[in-house]
């Protein structure tokens, strides 16, 4: 039954999705001081799916990976508490662009040789939606992005993808990269005993430089500003007033 040796799941540390982000007054970026950080929600969905695959006895080992500072241990420990078997922290203080992240993951793929790499379709901070596709390209393997359903059969995966035209179903050979969309699953809540147990699981730290990755930057952020606001509208009291207002604008 077991078809997949290892699933590598990538967890990005991002501002918690409940936090209303504040832009620094000098426009140099988003204020992260004292802000609650969490696993990128789409990555959490990817991990949940990997765990379910293992619980169906279709995979043997789940490895969670994060790239960043020692603070990322928090997100890796959460991943271990959810049920991952071990964790790898690739340590760097630099902010890597998606291509450098993909190259870093490629180095880990060469080291661990997983049959499947999973991550969210995008992170909720930079909203880039690139890393999974880039890894698949560097690896020269299939990609199933925006997955909302995933099954396996004799060396292939069947993925349902949420595309603009509806649901697209594709079949891909393993190994492959799968990025999760929102409706793939609902991640589990972690219970206290699992958090205690997670403290004993292996968390390995690898300095980025040891993987031979050079961080080159191609993009320079010049400024960050709030989005333009829409002018305040008016409340209408009934349907005839609404229709009249729309007629005045030539909309109906």
């Amino acid at each position: 039954m077991t078809e997949i040796n290892k699933i590598l799941v990538c967890l990005k540390r991002v501002v918690d999705y409940n936090v209303r982000v504040r832009i620094k007054p000098d426009g140099s970026g988003i204020s992260l001081d004292g802000v609650k950080m969490s696993i990128n929600p789409f990555d959490e969905i990817a991990l949940e799916e990997a765990l379910r695959i293992k619980e169906r006895n279709e995979a043997k080992e789940i490895i969670v990976v994060s790239i960043g500072t020692q603070e990322n241990q928090q997100q890796l420990r959460s991943g271990l508490a959810m049920g991952a078997d071990r964790a790898i922290l690739v340590e760097t203080t630099e902010k890597l662009e998606p291509l450098a992240i993909a190259k870093t993951l490629m180095a880990l793929v060469n080291r661990e040789v997983p049959q499947l790499v999973m991550m969210g379709k995008q992170s909720i901070d930079d909203d880039n939606n690139q890393t999974g596709q880039m890894l698949a390209a560097l690896w020269d393997r299939p990609q199933a992005t925006f997955a909302s359903k995933l099954t396996f059969k004799s060396g292939t995966a069947v993925a349902t993808r949420e595309v603009d035209a509806g649901l697209e179903v594709i079949s891909i050979d393993l190994p492959a990269v799968v990025t999760s969309d929102l409706r793939l699953n609902e991640p589990r809540y972690v219970k206290l005993p699992e958090i205690m147990k997670a403290k004993k699981k292996l968390l390995e730290t690898i300095p980025l430089i040891k993987l031979g990755i050079e961080s080159t930057t191609q993009f320079r952020s010049l400024s960050t500003e709030p989005p333009p606001q829409r002018p305040k509208g008016v409340m209408v009291s009934d349907v005839p007033e609404l229709v009249q207002s729309l007629r005045d604008r030539g909309l109906v």
Binding site: E97, P98, N129, P142, G166, V239
Partner: protein, 315 residues
């Protein structure tokens, strides 16, 4: 001296208007040449449509049996073969472009820019981050080809007054066989204007309460000749398919008129409609966040006012 290549999005029958919007983006920084490449099984019709877009110099038509399905894994190696002639390669920021363009970029060993919403120069762009809660201005190195997706809601379609040359080419790229298309399932019930491109859109939310009640939204849309959308809550509740979802994780749209019925207006939904011309909110809850960005708000029970609205509009 920018030379821009736009990857055409289409369904083998017709060109998606997202392509014309990418052309507008390239025109905004006065690119020297703008070419469109059409990968298709048989691309004569689509290439002809692309050739009418104002501002386009050449339409490159590449027919191949493998291009019947627009899979990133098979398209990316073909794009790479064309890349040397260009300073910029653009795709639309829907699921098609987002799937493809990072794969193209990584094969070329360069980064990718997502969701261009404004081009200040050929190498300086604005893009949304944090679900549109912040806008960042990014400068890209001029030494690299700029691979990017264009946020279609930020641009109007280029006019159909052009007369580009269509050039048929064949490529020698080895196409992988590790990715196979099985099927595409759309919302069969929805025969209305395409949500992404409709001039008017009516969306329903959780307050509709059931799939049956959602018919009210279809009726209102039909009176207006509008496309139909839905909030994430309505999709998750099973009232409609996911292809109708409007918002950060669904479709980002910019119709002239957007009517939101029984949608409270979570941030992720607002992100999807911020560029609409006129927004109308109908909701029982006067504190619904959607009222804060609506041009016209009506606090009322949707089951009272929507039938009335349909009746008044019919007259």
């Amino acid at each position: 001296m920018s030379r821009v290549l736009v990857i055409a999005e289409h369904n083998q029958d017709s060109l998606n208007s997202s392509t014309a919007k990418c052309v507008t983006c390239a025109r905004s920084f006065e690119a020297e040449t703008i070419d469109i490449v059409v990968f298709a099984k048989e691309g004569d019709q689509i290439a002809a449509q692309a050739a009418t877009l104002e501002g386009v110099t050449t339409v490159i038509r590449i027919d191949h049996p493998a291009n019947e399905f627009m899979l990133a894994a098979t398209l990316a190696p073909q794009v790479i073969e064309l890349a040397a002639d260009y300073t910029h390669i653009f795709g639309p920021s829907g699921t098609f472009g987002k799937d493809l363009m990072p794969r193209v970029a990584a094969l070329l060993g360069v980064g990718q820019l997502s969701d261009i919403m404004d081009a200040e120069t050929a190498f300086r762009f604005k893009r949304p981050i944090y679900a549109g809660n912040a806008i960042t201005t990014v400068e890209t190195s001029e030494d690299h080809v700029v691979i990017a997706t264009v946020r279609t809601a930020s641009y109007a379609a280029s006019e159909q007054t052009g007369q580009a040359v269509v050039e048929t080419r064949s490529l020698s790229a080895d196409l992988p066989k590790h990715t196979r298309f099985i099927e595409l399932r759309g919302d069969a019930e929805n025969k209305r204007p395409d949500l992404q491109t409709a001039a008017r859109v009516v969306s329903g939310g959780r307050a509709l309460g059931s799939k049956e009640n959602f018919k009210l939204i279809y009726q209102l849309a039909d009176v207006l000749g509008a496309g139909v959308g839905a909030s994430r809550a309505a999709v998750d509740s099973g009232y409609v398919g996911n292809d109708l979802q409007v918002g950060q994780t669904g479709k980002i749209i910019s119709p002239d008129l957007y009517i939101a019925v029984g949608i409270s207006g979570a941030i992720q939904h607002l992100t999807g409609i911020k560029d609409a011309g006129t927004i109308v909110a109908i909701n029982k809850d006067e504190k619904a966040p959607l009222f804060e960005i609506a041009d016209f708000g009506l606090t009322a029970d949707l089951f009272d006012v929507v039938p009335e609205l349909i009746k008044v509009l019919r007259e």
